[in-house]
């Protein structure tokens, strides 16, 4: 008989840049000045895109949209550590991740503008269509990761989730399968502290989401999700681990959803302005800019050029989206099965006959 402590756990937290853009040189990831500027540029581009998408939604030119405001570092930092051949299984709040993964912005608008063609990734880039049902995509990432080991491919799969999704059964099954199969998968959790109106303390009694990984037999880490360098660094380490057969990682990016849940939501109903204001001070984009300025690789002129370029890119994407003709009715039928079965062809033909008058 015995009464003893069987297990204790420790959990790492990583922050490379503090809120004032000061960096801890010992923790600095190996990135060239050009790469640092690139990271910043992607965050700025994502933010400009987000503003444009919100504006297009207000004008009724796209449908419901989920803003990424405040979460750019978590998404860009992670994407920057991946290759196109790696998989990402994003949620509906992942514009910055997808932009950093070369998903054309016109297609992002196309998806939120109600057109499935917007989910088609660029050739050779494994961007899976976004998941609307919360927490369901983690399993797909695990499946793709197990497939990679069977196919002997050096590929990592990233399953995105938020704090709300960490409560879903599917997500917990995904963690469990990942642990058991030692799958080359990264769970990229953006804990933005609000699942629509439900705050994190009502989502889980656990102090962190990262520690949940430990129960499933793999490593979890919490990073400052508003620090693009910390997110990049943690993701790069998890990628290396996955590539070398050392299994999954759960990265909890501690961040904040500065905007409403979606354009159909009004967050002022359930959270205080003071809380939002406090998080605005931790802005991930401003923080990186201060860091670059401190390193003397950034100045006002470069900033202006960058903003102008981002605006041009976003405007061009919006114009391309608006110029894209609506697909024909056949588009909803054509891809349901590998070969269109007779009953479906009949339905399509009947509809076309009625509407096209031939």
């Amino acid at each position: 008989m015995a009464s003893k402590v069987l297990k204790t756990f420790t959990l790492k937290y990583l922050q490379v840049l503090d809120e004032n853009g000061k960096c801890d040189a010992r923790l600095m990831p190996k990135l060239s000045p050009r790469q640092l500027v690139e990271l910043y540029g992607l965050m700025v581009l994502a933010r400009r895109f987000d503003e444009k998408a919100l504006s297009l939604q207000r004008q009724g030119r796209i449908g419901t949209y989920a803003s990424v405001l405040g979460q750019e570092a978590a998404q860009v930092g992670a994407a920057f550590a991946l290759r196109g051949s790696d998989w990402v299984f994003p949620t509906y709040r992942e514009s910055a991740l997808l932009i950093a993964r070369n998903q054309p912005m016109a297609r992002l608008l196309q998806y939120f503008g109600g057109d499935e063609r917007g989910s088609i990734p660029p050739k050779g880039v494994n961007n899976f269509p976004i998941a609307i049902p919360v927490g369901t995509q983690g399993l797909h990432a695990v499946g793709a990761a197990i497939a990679a080991t069977i196919q002997k491919k050096k590929t990592v799969a990233v399953g995105c989730l938020g704090d709300g999704a960490s409560s879903e059964g599917d997500m917990n099954e995904a963690f469990n399968f990942a642990g058991v199969f030692k799958a080359p998968v990264i769970f990229l959790c953006q804990n933005n502290q609000w699942a629509i109106s439900v705050p994190i303390k009502q989502q889980t009694a656990a102090e962190t989401i990262a520690q949940k990984a430990i129960a499933f037999g793999f490593e979890g880490i919490r990073v400052d999700g508003n620090d693009v360098l910390a997110v990049y660094s943690a993701t790069a380490a998890a990628v290396k681990k996955a590539y070398t057969g050392k299994g999954p990682t759960l990265i909890e990016c501690y961040t904040y959803r500065l905007n409403n849940h979606t354009t159909s939501d009004d967050a002022s109903k359930y959270r205080s302005e003071a809380e939002v204001a406090a998080w605005k001070k931790k802005d991930p984009v401003a923080r990186m800019r201060k860091f670059l300025e401190g390193k003397k690789i950034w100045n006002m002129k470069k900033e202006e050029e960058l903003l102008a370029k981002a605006d041009r890119q976003v405007s061009a994407a919006a114009a391309e989206y608006e110029a894209t003709p609506k697909a024909d009715a056949g588009d909803i039928f054509r891809y349901q099965y590998e070969e269109m079965p007779g009953f479906l062809r009949q339905q399509m033909d009947d509809y076309k006959k009625l509407t096209e008058g031939n």
């Binding site: 989910s119 088609i120 369901t136 499946g143 793709a144 197990i146 099965y337 590998e338 079965p341």
Partner: protein, 319 residues
Amino acid sequence: MNLVQAVNSGLKCAMADDEKVVVLGEDVGLDGGVFRACEGLLKQFGPKRVMDTPLAESGIIGVSAGMAVAGLKPVPEIQFSGFLYMALGQLINHVSRIRNRSRGAFTCPVIIRTPYGGGIRALEHHSESMEAIYVHTPGLKVVIPSSPYDAKGLLISAINGNDPVVFMEPSRLYRAIREEVPDGSYTIPLGKAKVVKEGNAVTVISWGSMLQQAKLALKHTDVDVELIDLRTLKPLDVEAIISSVKKTGRCIIVQEAPRTGGLASEIIALINEQALLSLKAPVSRVAGFDTAFPLYKLEDYYLPGTERIINAIEATVNY
């Protein structure tokens, strides 16, 4: 071979032919599946391709979806169809939609095998026939074999295709019938019904274990029945149904599933649309009841048997 051996043989052929085919599920490895449909697969193909998984059905289907998207051909086994409901979210929200919602950029050929149906004195939740759920889901194909030979050929066809398939195996028939089944690979196309017996007086349409009940019923009646085994429930072989009904002018559909909203209702609607003026009698249904499937002592009350089938045949021809 019996039906479960034929399924096993089909899996072995498909796995030998295509290294992308992998099997996963609860107890499919060392145990060979609780019905032994996966017997010997682990030994022959190794643990990378035959995976015992944690006990989580949604996980099995969701992981299969990811594998399929990444280029494998997963054939998950769900131990009993009553446990497949746990994975309905994955099946309806993802597996069935991926090809369409990505406009063909991604495909999701997951072939879900699961035993269904009553008559084996099983525990609660092991005996339902809920095929209509899957038939109703756009993007899925649904197959239910009624014989060992068909089971193998249909399974290999399902695996060879690139669409998700729910392959439901009548557990009551797993060991009930033996017939010649070739050891090698062969296919039976999906979407093609089989005329089991030609006749002119009335068309009887069925599938799975009810097909065998209908076959038994024929031994007890002199009516010249045309018996059709649907084999694939989606896509339905509309042509086979309509041409037979046009010939006989009468039709009965025998399903084990609950009566309301079942596949029989859809078949009647099709006959209505395409063969109404050929009908000499209302199309009737012999079906399970709209009740919870009873525990095994009472399951004979529930399961349509030869008596109810013969009764329907006689009522229809004497209408």
